[in-house]
Each structure stands twice: as C-alpha cells, then as structure tokens.
Symmetry: C2
Subunit: 306 residues, 2 copies
C-alpha cells in the first residue's frame, strides 16, 4: 500500500529552552512523510520556492519518499519562526511568512491518484476537499486541521470531516471546534459528524481514540526532556497512518497499535530539533520503544474478590 | 492489616459549573478514609468542633471506619469555601476558616499505634513527623502534602520525605518542590531524597509511579463529565494505599494495581459532590471499573517485523 500526503513544507526557525535553530527543515507534510516512511511508501504533494535547499529533498528521497509531487515555484519557501518557553505544549508563533505557500494549489501527479490511503495534513479545508475530488476512491482518508480553520472556515471544515474516515485534532482544537470542555464529549461529538474514528492528541499526556467500539486511552511516553516539540503532531500522524497503511486493515486492535506507533514516533521526534532524531532511527529502535510503552503502561487484573 | 490516617476533616462549600453545595462533608482524612474503607480497616485521627453534625460521624462508622481518634473540641469545625470554573483541574479557594484545625495536634489512641500502614494526609510536615515518632514502626508510611508547606516549611518537608516509603504529590507540587519542569525529572529527583516509591498525580491525565523498577504511567479514566473534583487526590490515595494494605505486599505489580485502584476511586468521586457517589459504591462496581480501565488502555504487541 502507499500514502498520498498533501501539506506544508517549511523552513523553521525555532527557539526552545534547550537551544535555537535557524531555517531547519519542517512543515506538516515533511514531518508526516518522514515518520510514515518507516512503515510504508509515501508520495508527497507540496510546494517550495527556488531557495529550497536540494539537501532537504535528497534527505526525503533517501528514505524512499516520492518527491515528484513537490512543486518548485518562483519565490521563497514558507518560513515559520516560533518559540517555546517552559510549557513546551504551547508554541508561540513569532512570525509566519507564507511566501509560495500562500497560493498553494495542490497538483496531484497521475500516478499518485490510486493511493490506498490519503493524509490531508493541515491546509485550508477547501483545498483538502479539492484533493479528495481529484483522486480515485481511497480505502482510507485521514485529515488534520488547525485552530485558524476552525475560526475562519468552520463550514468547509465540517463538510470535510463528514467525508473522512479519521479526523485527528489536538485537545485545544477539539474543544474549540465542538465547544465542549470535556475531551470525551468532544470526541463523541466529532464521531457524530461522520468519521468512523476520531483521534484527540493531548501532547505530553498521550492521546485518545474514539470509535463505535468505545474509547482507547493511550498513555504518554515518559520522556525526561523534550528538546523541541515542533512537528510532534504530524510525526504522530505519520506513525499512526503509516502503521495502518502497512497492515492494510482497519479494526480496533490495529488502530490501537497504530496509536502507540504514532506516540513512539512523536516521542523520538521531540528528542532533537527538526528531523535530527528521526534521521538516525530504524525499525528496530521503533519496535523497542513500542515494547517499552507496553512495559510502562502494563498492569494486571485486580487481586480483589467479592 | 489496617491503616492509621491523620489529616483534616472539613465542612466544604463548593461551587462548580454543575451546581453548588453548602457545608458538605470533606477534608483529606475523610476522603482518604472513606475510599480506603472499601479495601481494608481504617482508623482516623483528626479534629472537629462541637458543631460537627453527628450524621457525618455515623456515615464514617457505617463503613466500619474507627472514629475514636476524631477529637471533638470547643469551637467550630474547619471550613473550606472553593470554586471551580471550566478548568476543573484548578480549585479557586474563596475562603479557609481553620477554626479548631488551627491548633490541631494529633493524639494517637494506644490501639492505633500498631497499624501496619500509616497515611499522613496533608497537614504541617512537622506534625506529620511527630505522628511517626509516636507510633510503633509500621510496614509502610505514605505521605501527601500541599504547595503551602513547600513554600513555608520546605526543610521539615524534606526531612519527612526522607523518612517515608511513598511520597504522593500532584504535578504542580512536584514541579514546585523539585524546581524541575519535567515531571519525569521531578519524580526521579524525589526518589533520590529517600522514598522507595513516588507517585505524581496528573488530575484528568492519570498518574505516574516512580521506583527502582522504572516508571509506570497510569492512564486517565475517560469520564464524560467531572461534577466536582474536590477530594479526588485523597480519594486516589485511599484506593491506592487501601489496596496495598489489603494485599499486604509491596512489589512493583501490586503498586501498579494499586495505582489503578486509586484512579478508579477518584473517577467515581468526581461524579458527584462530597461523598455522594462513594456512598452508593460497592466492591463489585470497583472491580468492574478496574476492568474497564484495562479495556480502555489495552493494546497488543506491534505487528512489525524487521
């Protein structure tokens, strides 16, 4: 199987309590693709400017990612400048220069149109809907979004959510979108809008999966230090969707395993800036951390009798 | 086995988005004892004024709790007036009237001095140390605290922590006490101060257990609505310590089970004001919710091969 991903490609300048990096590779499609590439084939659609360093494209290709769908146009690549203080759950955006991303209109190469799985990373929900109209019917459509679209394009977003199989949001987005303080109510409300599954990411606190089978509460991975949380959500999505596409089955147990794979990938990603930690990963390390997750969260039946 | 608990007994007036209650039964020793009473024998030490309603003492006795150690003195019972807004993790204290609790000096009845387990609920760490000096050497000593003592009695608190087997704190207390932003670093730091185990409660996000065996990350119970979080931490401690005392063994697997029992008890407690929800509980309901916890958080090994 393979995944078509449509989203942003960026050059990020990031400051955290642990250091500062300028113009490093970032963007939702980038983090997603790199993470998913450990599990399955990935085809990327995005846009960069003529200033986009060739080494970044080479890095993606080296993981077998199909970069044919990355359009190179006149102008500069999307830049994001952000900072994290001690509460590493919340990024403070210092500047966003959309540049060529401002007029991004996804062009899907013909041989991308038959992918079994589609991941619509965070872009304008109108464009996400447009991508769905351009491709052959996939087995699985997963989408992400952000607070901006909830605030300015809620109708389009509602239409999109009714057409996808899995919606992924973080906790604050789910609360804002559904106007429910309780994440459990928010997840149940999102399911009622059409998707078969809903994932709510809780940053360092793990993630929740909602479906007709009930709720799965994935624990957090107990990391001592988070160096840079940028891209953690997209890296989670890459592990989650990548695992499902690799196994080519959609059932409750597979989705639970996929949630852990997503959490494993995100836990690696935050250990260094940009894709630095992911660059040195292999499947063996991923499986080891998955098993650690099981150890961290395992408990037996109670020794209580009536 | 049995537990000696020393702590506060209060009349709480509470407002949450779901309602308002005046002068209902509360206090750290109360919530702890009621919760622990589902697992083992409990002996309470505390103080109330002559205005303390007899029905409250009767309620505790009806669960088999030994209330002989509750001193009744001239004056009024401790009152706490608090409010929760939509972020139910943080209580806003509107007023604290210590009344008879201001001069509380724990008196331990002779037949309480041989309890196998001692729970030092949140009181002045100097008094907590004093209790330890008054009793025969117990099998297990567990203590709780609060931000006030971290701020004004840090030395006493450090001395206490070096003498207990298990220290329980919530996330903000652990961060404040250790001056570590990372809860994982905070837990490891607390272990180095002497206790064999450290528990960090994360409110709606579950709880962490630290020991030489590593870390256990207990998931949150996915409750749709939290009506009143008052006493959740002490109710957690009651289930946690109650389970350990019942099984009369201290090993990693038992402590993990105890963490889930604590989480189960806290999840019931927040479903209504004061002890209302706990009043209608029985061991059968506790076991059922424990099994639900397992279902909510279970996942299989990954289907990944190298």
């Amino acid at each position: 199987m393979s995944i078509l991903v449509v989203g942003s490609i960026a050059l990020d300048s990031i400051k955290t309590p642990f250091g500062e990096k300028k113009e490093v590779l970032g963007g939702s499609a980038t983090y997603f693709s790199y993470s998913a590439s450990f599990f399955t084939d990935v085809k990327m659609v995005g846009v960069v400017g003529k200033d986009f360093p060739e080494e970044h494209t080479a890095l993606l290709k080296a993981r077998g990612i199909d970069t044919k769908g990355i359009e190179v146009t006149d102008g500069k690549t999307f830049r994001w400048i952000g900072e994290y203080e001690f509460d590493m759950n919340v990024a403070q955006t210092k500047a966003t220069h959309l540049n060529v991303f401002e007029n991004f209109y996804p062009k899907i190469p013909d041989d991308y149109k038959k992918c079994g799985t589609i991941f619509l990373a965070n872009i304008d929900p109108g464009l996400q809907l447009d991508v769905l109209n351009k491709v052959d019917k996939p087995n699985l459509v997963v989408c992400d979004t952000m607070n901006l679209w909830i605030e300015i394009k809620k109708k389009s977003l509602e239409k999109l959510i009714s057409k996808v199989d899995i919606i992924i949001m973080n906790d604050s987005e789910a609360r804002e979108f559904t106007e429910e303080a309780s994440l459990i109510k928010a997840g149940i409300r999102l399911l009622k809008m059409g998707p078969k599954y809903c994932v709510i990411k809780k940053g360092e606190h793990g993630a929740l999966l909602f479906s007709d089978h009930g709720i799965f509460s994935a624990p957090s991975y107990p990391l001592e230090t988070v160096y840079d949380p940028t891209g953690a959500g997209d890296t989670f999505a890459g592990g989650f969707v990548g695992y499902i596409d690799r196994l080519n089955k959609i059932d409750d147990q597979t989705l639970r395993q996929a949630m852990i794979c997503g959490s494993v990938m995100a836990s690696f990603n935050v250990e260094d800036f940009s894709l630095e930690r992911l660059k040195s990963l292999n499947l063996n390390a991923i499986i080891s951390r998955y098993k650690e997750f099981k150890k961290f969260s395992h408990f037996e039946e109670p020794e209580l009798s009536l």
